[in-house]
Amino acid sequence: MSQGIREKHLGLRKAKNGLFLSVAGLLLLIAVLPLFLIVGYVIQQGLPDLNTQFFTLPTEPTGMPGGMGNAILGSLEIIGFATLFSLPLGIGAGIYISEGRIGWIKSVSRFAADVLSGVPSIVVGLLAYVLVVRPMGGFSGFSGSVALAILMIPIIARQTEQALRSVPSSIREGALALGARRTQVWLKFVLPSAAGAVITGFILAFSRALGETAPLLFTAFGNEFWSTNMMQPLAAIPLQIFVYALSPYSDWQKEAWTGALILVILALSMNLVSRVVERRRFR
């Protein structure tokens, strides 16, 4: 560029510019394509079998009408308990990372939350196996909840921390000036004004846990029958899809697609809802 602009060069440079940008545009199209390919195919394969039977019947041998009722119930139960563990712990850790007094503990914890959220879910499954399955002497829905909770805690903590950090410090100072204690500032002023973003973080963690399969393979393990017993093996939607997908029976494979459709609808809608909540916060 330092040589100055000559006519000949300018043409070449403009051509390069055009070429490069069209390649980038093409890459963007390629990047968007898979979403439509996958979601489109899941809808096409899964929609025909989406009926009440799918929600009300449990796993049945191939050839008989069956559904994922037991897996839906199991998933709700496992994730319900995972929420019970992870929500208070995640928010608590998030509050410390954002509002704590000691700088280096905050940085270390923030980094730890980051690393923990990057740990592969299958490795988290191993931890839950050693911590819960082996001491309890068998696979159980409870151990699945523990595994999912471990995955949810760092996500919730990180999101809470970011949400709290975006709360203006004038709110804290104002509350302190009125004589509020530090913990009152957290619970009555900071947390409520960041509630939208904290909820967003929770929804994201929830929707990630909903689709997790790997850590449930050797914790919740799966179950073909109706069961609500957390101390016994429990079915879950993603586990059922995994088993059905690899089975040689075409009716099970069809149910796998219907299960996938339900997961995709839930995951995408939760993601969109979290975005709406997030946007409302900035208005």
Partner: protein, 302 residues
Amino acid sequence: MWHRIAEQITQTWVRVSLLVMLALLAALLIMLIGQSMDAFHAFSWKFLVISTWDPVHRIFGALPFLYGTVVTSLFAIVNAGIIGVGSSIFLVYVLRGTLRNVLGLFIELLAAIPSVVYGLWGIYVLAPWLQRTGEPFLHKYLGFLPLFSGTMLGVGFLAGGLILTIMILPTITAISRDVLQAVPTDLIEGAYAIGATRVESIRYVGFPFARSGIIGALMLGFGRAVGETIAVTMVIGNRPQIVASLFAPGYTMASVIANEFTEATNPLYTSSLYEVGLILLLTTVIFYGGARFLVWRMSRTA
């Protein structure tokens, strides 16, 4: 008096939460190291270079899984890197308004789709397509490379690599987009002002500024690819072997744990799987930590 108690409860809750989180990370490391001791004593460092995985004769080497993980993850990071960075350039420098938001959203929604759904799509759509169309095409034009020769099965390294490409694409695109957007507009406008074309201003001003952030995005994507389990397990073919062909079935560290952990019958077998898990954890932690550091430094300077 009541306030005092409430304060104590809140303080305790917050501290305990933090401790639990830190303890979980420590527990992961301690548990994996402890459980993999048997395998480490039996094979020591050779665990990493033995290419036999033979439960019957109790010889366990992680090399085929390391190989499979590295091949599929590298394949994914190269492809997703090119597509993701290209897309983010187009999103940031060319598109404006609604179109930018909508297309950006579409890519990010890919991250919301569960792994098992990718796997399902992988075995019933991607693998058959590869077997019938994709692999014969590659073989016809690039078959002179050992990479694209051999039996065309559909499932294998190529299918695994492609699924991973799609799965890590949103991560790379979203972060590249954020760091490119963080480049001060003054600098870009300055480049325009001295007569640079759009591409030149990206190449000489935007890119150098965002470089460490983009490298961070790629490392983060690599870490994700290494740890991804179910989708890869469903399409990679699950055969522990080291071959040059991308068409061949392989195995990854994550998928061997997923497949064999519940059926591992003797302590050495189980311990070897834990050691694979330990390697997996350390790899992802290194890439994740490094990536976070780079992105964090970038957002600091911006």
